[in-house]
């Protein structure tokens, strides 16, 4: 490839989607001690998309970056095993507030100068759905959230987005921010040889406070409670019984 077409993928270490979440007894937060963690599923889709772009010859290098504790190296290695070329960890033990994460990532983008920055549309833990859009604002890029198809046409990224009530297509100048939705692709599994190879791929650790981002506390978690429990239901045996209950007990029809 004549021009370098670097793709940066921002990923998050999050609770494994199959784990049953429990609120801590003191109500301070959810219990994450000893809980299985994984690459956030939407970030996995973003990594897969970057690798496919490279396989199609539309990207020359795939760099994955995460902001978090040193434990996030595990998820970066997963991304490397899936096919990313190298990884960066912006190491911090602070609470991961979206705007602060976006500021760290913007600094990394300044240094790396990618032509495309891919995100998952949201993380399944805090469910903020903010970081990609914030990064786009901070670096002055266009954005396509909830992507269901990503193409390169005449030096632009043409992205189909899932929106309420249908879909939309936008064309973005480079560099652009794209956040990935469920139906963009089906992520592959890492093969054992690739998992072994990933151990030798470069993973650079950057101390967050060396990036010169002006971060601060924007919100404070006061407490967490489990959701209200629905009262136990009953089994109905026939259509007549169901209709009777809906009409005369529940009063909803």
């Amino acid at each position: 490839m004549r021009r370098t077409m670097k793709v940066l993928v921002a990923v998050k270490r999050a609770i494994d989607p199959n784990v049953k979440v429990r609120v801590k007894a003191d109500g301070s937060d959810v219990e994450l001690n000893g809980v299985k963690m994984a690459l956030n599923p939407f970030c996995e889709i973003a990594v897969e998309e970057a690798i496919r772009l490279k396989e199609k010859g539309l990207a020359s290098e795939v760099v994955v970056v995460s902001v978090g504790t040193s434990a996030a190296q595990e998820q970066l290695r997963t991304a490397l095993a899936l096919g990313a070329d190298r990884a960066l960890l912006v190491e911090t033990s602070a609470m991961l507030e979206p705007l602060n994460v976006a500021k760290y990532l913007s600094k990394v983008i300044d240094q790396e100068k990618p032509r495309l920055i891919l995100f998952g549309k949201q993380a399944i833990d805090q469910e903020n759905n903010q970081v990609g859009q914030m990064v786009a604002q901070l670096i002055g890029s266009g954005q396509a959230t909830y992507a269901s198809a990503v193409n390169q046409v005449d030096g632009q990224w043409v992205v189909e987005r899932e929106v309420d009530g249908g879909s939309q297509v936008v064309a973005l100048a480079m560099p652009a921010v794209v956040t990935c939705d469920l139906r963009l692709n089906q992520p592959r599994y890492a093969s054992l040889p690739n998992i072994m190879k990933a151990k030798k791929k470069p993973l650079e650790i950057i101390a967050a406070d060396t990036l010169g981002a002006s971060v601060k506390e924007h919100a404070r978690l006061l407490g967490v409670v489990p959701p209200a429990v629905r009262k136990a239901g009953i089994t109905v045996g026939s259509v007549a019984e169901l209709v009777d209950k809906l009409k005369n007990v529940a009063g909803v029809i």
Partner: protein, 312 residues
């Protein structure tokens, strides 16, 4: 204190989610303005919006650049309005609200709270996290508070016979050069909007095919409701993407939710467990959906759905 609500409209009508966002905003107890952004039909929408109870002003930003509301064009307008003296900004947690508001937050150097379900006070809010398995109470420490709210958690604002003032506002007129709208395909549907429908009938993998999904549609039409689907049904091509109910799709809380052939993965439950009455029709009595259902009917879907449609 002053609150700005970002309105959303489609085919010349305010969305149901906008009315809910107004209710959430009014709970803050401050003066409240509603911003209508759009192209040719925006002034009609603004006139309609001015009949909403509790509003002080409707702000109308109209122009060709707002015809298809791109975040890159809406953000400079909203940011400049907020800088003129708003302490709170509220939008529906729709695909548009979620697309635009984080850009506004970054431009103002403040944080943002997504999917708020309860206003505790002017700086403290509740929002579900971890697919609704925990409800967090969060205090914003920023001078300006930006929220998207879950429409299903707030009643729709009422109308009044008197219009409030409609004021024209302008952005800086610069059209974003980093993005270009290409096309849009919206699904035309006579059915009510999924996020705000009084009745939702959803089908899952158990429906087995796109053709069989017509049974779901017929029952929904009989009840005047919306059609929903589980992720499995959407992934199998039985239903359109935007009908997915769940953590990563639409969050619904209708009066009546009927789940047919849906096993009840936690991601699906996260999108519908706030419903007032839940009916599950399933062949498997042990399916997790039974844990949230008020009425569990163990039956063959292809007999049960037509029978229910007939009995109504």
């Amino acid at each position: 204190m002053r609150t700005l609500v970002i309105a959303e409209h489609s085919v010349g009508q305010l969305t149901a989610g906008t009315w809910s966002a107004v209710t959430a905003a009014l709970a803050l107890g401050a003066e409240t303005d509603l911003l209508v952004v759009g192209g040719a039909d925006a002034s009609t929408v603004a006139q309609q919006a001015a009949l909403t109870q509790g509003l002080d002003r409707v702000l109308l930003a109209q122009g060709a650049m707002f015809e298809n509301v791109l975040a890159e064009n809406a953000q400079p307008l909203i940011t400049s309005l907020v800088r003129k003296g708003y302490t709170h900004v509220v939008a529906d947690a729709s695909s548009m609200g979620r697309n635009v508001l984080p850009r506004v937050a970054a431009s103002l150097d403040v944080g943002m709270l997504s999917d708020v379900t309860h206003i505790v006070s002017t700086d403290t809010f509740q929002r579900p996290i971890y697919a609704g398995n925990a409800i967090a109470t969060v205090q914003s420490l920023d001078p300006i508070k930006l929220l998207t709210v879950r429409a299903s958690a707030f009643a729709q604002a009422l109308s009044q016979p008197q219009r409030c003032e409609v004021v024209a506002v302008e952005g800086d007129g610069q059209i974003a050069s980093n993005v270009r709208f290409v096309s849009e395909q919206l699904t035309a549907s006579e059915r009510p909007d999924l996020s705000s429908a009084r009745v939702v009938v959803s089908g899952g993998r158990g429906m087995q095919s796109k053709e069989n999904f017509a049974l779901i549609e017929r029952l929904a039409d009989k009840l005047g409701g919306a059609v929903g689907a589980s992720r499995a049904a959407v992934d199998s091509g039985f239903a359109a993407n935007d009908l997915q109910v769940g953590q990563t799709g639409k969050i619904v809380a209708p009066e009546l939710y009927i789940a047919a052939g849906i096993s009840g993965a936690i991601q699906h439950l996260a999108g519908m467990s706030g419903s007032k009455v839940i009916v599950a029709i399933n062949q498997d009595a042990e399916a997790p959906i039974a844990q949230v259902a008020d009425y569990m009917w163990v039956a063959d879907l292809f007999e049960a759905l037509p029978a229910l449609e007939k009995a109504l």
